[in-house]
Symmetry: C2
């Protein structure tokens, strides 16, 4: 690897040039080793955010981040593998029913997940509300569980893409999160290093999502699908609505309960619809489009896999889940039809109630969150419950209520309601 210099690489990107493969390899490696300082990498990240990167640069950047750590290998498994990644939304518990459903269909799901930060929840936080369940597995435990159960949801180890871990923390404090090349390479470096054979991306669009408009979401999806394809991972993306929160709950234990309802054949229609749509894509990516996930869900086999998956990680799937100590009901101020329910308003309320964290080291409350009793298009009655707010600390109600202010609209009964389709678009290789 030829020697470069941090200032030279920064100035090249600052002046709108394309970085060479050798510059990219050098800067990622030197940053991981600490030879490129944080203040140099943040200047480079800002130059990338403002001046962009070509597809070939993003691909090399991703490869260099993968090369900074270990790569997992599931080729010894008897089943094909498929994974899903969501860019994050409110009430997005889809991974919980999806992983056991796809495993029950015969495709192994190695799902490395994260914890929540800000208004979007984290899959690990949700599962940790189940008594005994543990997120940390060794690579050997993960492989064994994939063989025996077919699905594993666990924390990503420190060995995968350490350059991304360091860069992500830096971007968070330097205003350089919102760069498509950096978002795409961050997500895809971890997913490619994880070793999945195929991948489905759930790119959220709307007020409660990172990407507020369809054009930016499509751009991100296209870049990520390209990166996966370049790396030999069969990748597709669905653009899905996050103007409205998913299901009827946002929190931790309450989202587990809703997920179990879906596995039991019930649950909110939108959660079922998205779970099945993503399962179909994962099965197709793994070459198993002969299996119908809706049938498998109805059969109860996905619930069996769920219980086995929770037990394999020392959780008790039949135990009672934690319940918040305090609740507060918001009633509908008028009768009519709910025409809008804002995902960001609900997500902020759940976060302020204690379901999420402000800083990485903060704990979350297992029982906290928001339940909404209607979705857009549903009739509401003046004085009947519209939201139930849950927390262990009643002092949190005030700010949570404030974030719901203006977060929904009720129109007279019979008014037309414009509903966004849940799956907005599909981006394939």
């Amino acid at each position: 690897m030829s020697a470069h210099d941090a200032v030279e690489v920064i100035i090249a990107k600052r002046d709108g040039q394309q970085l060479s493969e050798s510059q990219i390899d050098w800067v990622i490696d030197a940053y991981t080793r600490g030879d490129v300082a944080d203040e140099q990498m943040s200047a480079l990240a800002m130059a990338i955010l403002l001046n962009g990167m070509e597809r070939s640069e993003i691909s090399r950047w991703t490869a260099a981040m993968i090369a900074s750590g270990e790569r997992m290998d599931f080729s010894s498994l008897s089943r094909p593998t498929s994974d899903k990644h969501s860019t994050g939304g409110v009430g997005d518990k889809i991974t919980l029913p999806l992983a056991p459903l796809v495993a029950a269909c015969g495709v192994a799901v190695p799902q490395l997940s994260g914890r929540g930060l800000g208004h979007t929840g984290g899959t690990l936080d949700k599962l940790e509300s189940i008594p005994g369940w543990r997120a940390a597995l060794t690579n050997a435990e993960m492989l064994a569980q994939l063989e025996s159960v077919g699905a594993v949801i666990c924390a990503a180890g420190d060995g995968l893409a350490p350059a991304d871990k360091k860069l992500y923390a830096l971007r968070d404090v330097t205003g350089t999160v919102e760069a498509i090349p950096l978002i795409a390479s961050s997500i895809m470096s971890k997913k490619i290093a994880e070793g999945t054979g195929s991948l489905v991306l759930d790119v959220k669009v709307g007020t409660g999502a990172f990407m507020k408009d369809v054009a930016r979401a499509r751009e991100l999806a296209e870049v990520m699908v390209g990166l996966g394809t370049d790396a030999g991972v069969r990748t597709v993306a669905l653009l899905t609505d996050m103007a409205t929160p998913l299901g009827l709950t946002a929190g931790n234990a309450i989202e587990v309960t809703e997920s179990v309802e879906v596995l039991a054949g019930g649950g909110p229609a939108d959660v079922v619809e998205l779970t099945v749509a993503l399962a179909r894509e994962m099965l197709a990516g793994a070459g198993r489009d002969d299996v119908d996930p809706a049938e498998v869900l109805a059969s109860g086999r996905a619930m069996d896999t769920w219980k086995a998956m929770i037990r394999a990680q020392d959780g008790d799937p039949d135990a009672a889940l934690p319940v918040a100590r305090e609740s507060h009901v918001v009633t509908a101020p008028a009768s009519g039809v709910l025409t809008r329910l804002d995902a960001m308003a609900v997500g902020l309320a759940a976060w302020r109630l204690g379901a999420g964290r402000a800083r990485k080291e903060d704990p979350v409350q297992a029982g906290a969150g928001v339940v909404w009793h209607a979705r857009p298009g549903d009739a509401v009655t003046e004085g009947a419950p519209l939201f139930t707010l849950l927390t262990d600390e009643p002092a949190r109600f005030e700010r949570a209520l404030a974030s719901l202010d203006g977060g929904y609209d009720i129109a007279p009964a019979g008014s037309p309601v414009e509903l966004t389709p849940l799956v907005i678009d599909r981006v394939g290789a």
Copy 2:
């Protein structure tokens, strides 16, 4: 001062917004105190470089940097004050004859100078070749010398614009030096904090200067003149040529010798021309355009002031200056007329001979440098000396010679020579 957040300020500039006065005051103060981290300030600097700043923002940014430290006050002096700043060039010894000349005309010159870095020389490095001379003065010593002698050239204390000191070091390693708002505010914060009543800026243009083209140099000059004017300092700028090095020497002791020749009524015509032109502007700024600096220079009074100024700082103006231990002569490869002498080539050669430093902590050689025996337009004779290279370490000759390669052109005698005027333009308030 209202509370802000580093990420909020970075994102505002990243997204092309104008920073508020309160955001600017907060970020400069918090950075000086260490509450805004280097990696945050470098991301902000890159966003400023790429997205620019409005005049009002640069003005506030400059004021905030001034407010980060002390402000000097020369209002107790019996004379008006004027200062000069050069953006840096090769062979630019103008401060040496200029400060005593203007003082001899009745205007006090409080010149806070720096050391050289890279291919451009530093005024303090040059003066330190005079036996006994010291650059560090207390504020009280500076004030006393201004009253008694009328001119002082010394090192800027740590108290002036500490935010700028910290930011300048950061920009140097993060590829964010070349931003006009940051260059202008860096220079002007120090000059305004220094307390001069009027200021003349010598903005260099050409291969040997920071600004390679007239348009960028004019933009920088206009911004700086505006900043000075906004702060109540009468400010003008001259754009002057730095495609060709000034005078016939680039180094330390050899530039002192050339400066003394100018004070004695001799010296290269271009050095005399620029010294007198800048003196006229300084005198006009201080309300003393009744005095003709060319007459004062011819009278020998400027030489008297020079000697008094050197003696006041413990230097011996009559002592012999250090001489390099080794010299190497480059002869003209052909007879004819010198049509081009490249300032950058000469500056690099002098630097490589030991006249300049690569890192702040490096020493410089007092005797090292380059003497050229012809200027563009002069006749040269094949085999006659064209350059004399001086250093204490003969191992340095090879790389110095390499940097002169291609750095000059000789055409047949009688060929037309296109000479750039020394003073290209004037930017006034």
